[in-house]
């Protein structure tokens, strides 16, 4: 451990810490654009200037390791002047695009300008014009004029994704970021470049112009796209989820996430959801509330197990639920109903162990390992392939399916659904609509998605991660554990869910006294 002083505050840092990290550790702000802890040091934005000791020449904090007894100051007048001018140099050729720029609201230039700048521009000459709205494939739009050439994205494609698409061409203030001959930027991690872009030069086509960022709230959760279990932040408002960004976790995903994980928010939104329960009896559909449906399902199961015996009930579980939900489901099935035919529905057994070397895994379920643990705990050893025969031979007459939240990653979804429909009774827990479930007596109960419930997921290496509820999208949906509670005849404490309005903060309204 090393001792150093940041703006007079004494702190201890690890050996090899950079000054910029030490300043952050001491809770001081330090302006920087090019430095990113997940990438190599470029040292080109020249904003993280600090004064070290009495050295009259300012140093950049991102390329200076802390030494014992170092006295660091970034609130010195000299430093402030350097930052103000550094910012000015960044801004003189930056276009006035804030009104149409997606980054506005979370743009580092805006943040630093409000802090250090707030002056009239001194530049009277013309700005350098560069190319705008360059289409870089299906994911990203590039605006070279807005780019401040921090080279973060270039370093990302060089060092992290190792795909080498991006480069900086020409020199001087004619420098332009881009790909060779505007080739599309289509690697599996391309959208990380959008995240690390401190300005609006790289924007995501998916999010582009859909919302202004200040209308969105964010909450940390876990990506359920695959068994890696990246830590993510979802951005949402009362209309639904809008985007997903990675959050730093040294053990799981570092600073990054894959592009497939960024699409995982989509099935959560209302358009793709089952809004209320449905009971279909011989083709006659009847909508009913989820709670009612769960109670009905409970009664039905009780009766059926009594009449046909617990062996006639098959339970199919996917690896997309939380540990808590599995626990309650298994407890109910095994201990209460004595049902032991519990099957693990594996969606893509061929590609299950695929791994691209960075984050992306072939197992597209967040909690396969949690499910396996539970199955072991209840000592259930079944094989999904047995189920087909059992249905065909009519030994299993009732099937309860804890279906996938994200049906898109289940290529065999419809095929399986029609198989399950051969049983005379089908109870299906699903987040999205299940049109292929056409059994004689079908009950489809809407469930909550990962963003709407708290719970624990176990990733590929056995790390237990708990995620918290983000928001409620479908008010009529139940979590699996709540449904099980209702099925077993108990009541759940339902809190009345009022309209969740993300009230926007209005400067003038909140500070009315200052007007």
């Amino acid at each position: 451990m090393l001792n150093c002083k940041v703006n007079g505050k004494e702190i201890k840092v690890k050996q090899g810490t950079l000054v910029i990290d030490a300043i952050k550790q001491a809770d001081y702000d330090v302006a920087h654009y090019c430095y990113h802890p997940g990438l190599s040091v470029a040292g080109v934005c020249r904003l993280c200037m600090v004064k070290i000791g009495d050295n009259p020449r300012l140093q950049i904090a991102c390329n200076t390791p802390v030494q014992e007894g170092m006295e660091i100051s970034n609130e010195d007048e000299q430093v402030k002047d350097a930052v103000k001018w550094g910012l000015d140099f960044h801004l003189i050729n930056h276009p006035l695009d804030c009104p149409i720029c997606d980054q506005a609201g979370e743009c580092e230039l805006q943040i630093q300008y409000m802090k250090f700048g707030q002056y009239d521009p001194e530049m009277a000459e013309k700005k350098v014009k560069k190319r705008k709205v360059v289409d870089l494939g299906s994911k990203i739009v590039l605006d070279t004029e807005r780019c401040i050439l921090c080279s973060r994205c270039v370093r990302f494609t060089d060092e992290v994704s190792k795909t080498n698409e991006l480069g900086i061409f020409n020199r001087g203030d004619r420098s332009e970021v881009g790909t060779f001959e505007d080739k599309p930027l289509e690697n599996d991690y391309a959208l990380n470049t959008v995240d690390i872009c401190p300005v609006g030069a790289l924007t995501s086509k998916d999010f582009r112009f859909r919302q202004r960022v200040w209308y969105l709230k964010n909450q940390s959760t876990i990506c359920t796209g695959c068994s890696t279990g990246c830590n993510v932040k979802v951005y949402y408002n009362e209309e639904g989820l809008f985007r997903v960004k990675p959050e730093f976790n040294e053990d799981i995903n570092g600073y990054w996430m894959c592009d497939q994980g960024r699409d995982v928010y989509k099935f959560v939104n209302k358009d793709f959801r089952l809004l209320e329960a449905q009971s279909v009896t011989e083709g006659q559909a009847e909508p009913l509330s989820a709670g009612k449906a769960a109670q009905l399902a409970g009664e039905k199961l009780k009766e059926l197990t009594k009449v046909n015996g617990p062996e006639s009930v098959g339970v199919v579980v996917t690896g997309q639920y939380t540990n808590e939900e599995y626990e309650s489901l298994f407890d109910y099935m095994v201990n209460k109903l004595k049902v032991k035919n519990i099957y693990h529905w594996v969606n893509n057994s061929d590609t299950m162990d695929d791994f691209d070397g960075l984050l992306l895994r072939g197992d597209k379920n967040p909690n396969t390992y949690g499910l396996k643990e539970i199955m072991k705990k209840y000592s259930i050893q079944t094989n999904m392939s047995d189920l087909e025969g059992a249905i065909k031979s009519n030994t299993i007459k009732t099937i309860v399916v804890a279906g996938p939240e994200n049906q898109a990653v289940y290529p065999d979804f419809n095929e399986r659904a029609s198989l399950f429909s051969q049983a005379s009774n089908l109870i299906w827990f699903s987040a999205g609509p299940v049109s292929a479930a056409t059994s004689k007596h079908t009950l489809v109960i809407p469930t909550k998605t990962y963003a709407e419930k708290s719970g624990t997921y176990v990733n590929y290496k056995g790390t237990h991660q708990s995620s918290h509820k983000v928001t409620t999208i479908v008010r009529g949906a139940l979590s699996l554990s709540d449904s099980v509670t209702l099925m077993s005849g108990e009541s759940i404490l339902t809190k009345p869910v009022g309209p969740q309005k993300a009230m926007k903060t209005n400067f003038f309204v909140n500070k009315s006294g200052e007007l």
């Binding site: 009104p99 705008k132 202004r212």
Partner: protein, 174 residues
Amino acid sequence: MSIVKKPDWKANWYLIGIFSGLWFTLKTMVINIFNKDKMPTVNYPEEKYEYGPRFKGNHVLTVKKDGSVRCTACMLCATNCPANCITIAAAEHEDPTVEKYPISYEIDILRCVFCGFCEEACPVDAIRMGPEWQTPGLGHQDFHYDIQKLAYRANLKGGVLSRVDDEERHHAGI
């Protein structure tokens, strides 16, 4: 909760009030008959009052030289609106020099408090408070103003030109 009060004894002297009221009415009527010019009221709807140029009436969306809406869908007006009455949906324009434009821009005029914050927040002079103040309508739908109404209603005669021109700014090197 309302409390019923018993009438005061003074209320019995209401006749004085009635007559003094009648006298005032009569007096003003006579003055107005013989001194018509100084009468403060106008004969609405035959006559209409001229408001000052800074009057904040119904909103106008300005247009560019080519006639399209100037608004860039930056949402600053919607953010700034204390009554929460502006709803904008943005989209990508096929012309890369425009880039972003509103496919729908709605003002719920019944919620609007005519404070003018939207006008002040606008960075490109796209929204102004116009001189109109008559806003009759038959149902709720008539009070949701869309782009058609805000920018191209008949009395704007093809739209009001915005003072901020992209091309001029481009030539000036901004």
